[in-house]
Amino acid sequence: MYLTNGIVIGIIYAISALGVTLIVGIMKVVNFAHGELYVFAGYFSYYMSVSLGLSPLVAMPLSVFLVFLIGLLMEKALIRPTYGDDMYSLIVTFILSIVLQNLALLIFGPYPNKPPNLIFGATNLFGLFYYGNQRLLSFFISLAILLFIFYLIKMTWFGKSIRAVSQDREMASRIGIDHYRINMLSFGLGAALAAAAGVILSPIFPVTPSGSAAISLTAFVVVVLGGMGSLKGCLVGGLILGIIENLGAAYISTMYRGIFGFILLILVLVFRPWGLYGQKT
């Protein structure tokens, strides 16, 4: 049961981390505002379904799309002028995360909110225990998103041009790839992945504006664990972190749930600083 929980949460961590790793891999930009985008998506989906009365099935993709647009806008207005200066882009996304966090506090208030469940009840898994249907559904939605992203990156022109740009930006432009457009779309996609994790996880763990830092951190831990820029690393890293957190919380103490991730992170940094699937440089 704890293992199942770990796998379900781990997959969602993987989605969130994919959002970070995509942007790091392609643009060499670390998006500190990642957690805030997650929180915004959680609140969007809450207000759309609770205040506007939309079905969560509509509210969820709509919130993700809205955050995707915000991501495009952020890249165009704020990140693009910083290209070529990694330090400056770090500062910009860091400031952005603070501004967005306060904005969320201002607009949504400090109280945790929880969008309605998509589905109720529980299912007996493997004849062993009952598991919440909401969590099961979240798992399958996340899996579908993950497969879609892998397909996108491996098989489509867009995905291949993303890989080309991340390997050699100038050469990519010399074969006809509009790398400005690729940057904008991949930043949007990164934001959308943060949002996807947000709308999927918020019915399980309610969102608060102050929770965003922890979300960014979790995503960064997974990225470092798996190896910068590696998609497979995100999946494996997410699963490992999800499982360790849940087993740790169950058998040692819930108080220290967050600590296990950090212990793992430190171990990885000491023994394999390029991550599980990253490349030594």
Partner: protein, 234 residues
């Protein structure tokens, strides 16, 4: 076909090219010679739109292309083989070739171009599933040329064609270049090996510390006193 008129190029604050002019007629193979650091790569990258001239213009088929982005230049039929190949090393041979056909007008004839490239360089077909970074130097150069051809260019710019290659492979590649040219691709070659390049080209230019100091037909240049001393070591 290509008409470069008195371009001045800066990289950062440093001026690299001074009033450089160069023309290429349709169907020619033209060589650009010059010592290390003369500005040959900078010149090629300027035609590709990587550096923009501070003054002067570049015309391609009558259209002023100075100031245009590299990705737009790739789309109008100018393609390049960069110094050091610059393959997408983590991708397969096949994917590298596929990426060469990225411009929209090239995508519809991707399979046709692939057959063409495989007929020019059969070894690429054998290695098509291999990761590009694991190819030998000669194979990498063939792949870099193949990738450039996948966009069906009218003008092909090649930087340091023979650098790091064995004489045998170099000769093979030059034969292929000549074949390509007969099939209608106009070519500019940058080369350290002056004797070889001039043997395969119609005309040549000499670039010395950012200025064109000499130009003429390949036979003229091969017999030129200064060239014989400085570039042919005679």
């Amino acid at each position: 076909m290509l008409d470069v008129k008195e371009i001045e190029i800066f990289r950062g604050e440093a001026q690299i090219l001074w009033r450089v002019s160069l023309t290429i007629q349709e169907g020619e193979i033209v060589t650009l010679l010059g010592a290390n650091g003369a500005g040959k790569t900078t010149f090629l990258e300027s035609v590709l739109g990587v550096h923009h001239p501070r003054s002067g213009e570049i015309y391609f088929r009558g259209r002023n292309i100075s100031g245009i982005n590299p990705f737009d230049i790739a789309r109008i039929g100018i393609s390049s083989v960069p110094e050091g190949r610059r393959l997408f090393k983590d991708m397969t041979v096949y994917e590298n070739l596929e990426m060469g056909a990225y411009p929209k007008r090239a995508r519809s004839s991707l399979l046709e171009s692939l057959t063409w490239v495989f007929s020019l360089f059969p070894v690429l077909e054998v290695r098509k599933k291999q990761i590009a970074g694991t190819l030998s130097g000669g194979e990498q150069q063939m792949l870099a040329i193949g990738r450039a051809l996948m966009s069906k260019p009218q003008l092909l710019l090649i930087d340091e064609l023979s650098l790091g290659l064995s004489p045998k492979i170099t000769k093979e590649i030059y034969e292929t270049i000549q074949k390509l040219n007969k099939e209608g691709v106009t070519i500019l070659v940058i080369e350290q090996n002056a004797a070889l390049a001039l043997r395969y080209s119609n005309r040549g230019y000499v670039l010395e510390t950012g200025r064109i100091t000499l130009q003429g037909s390949s036979t003229e240049l091969l017999n030129d006193e200064h060239i014989r001393k400085a570039y042919l070591g005679m």
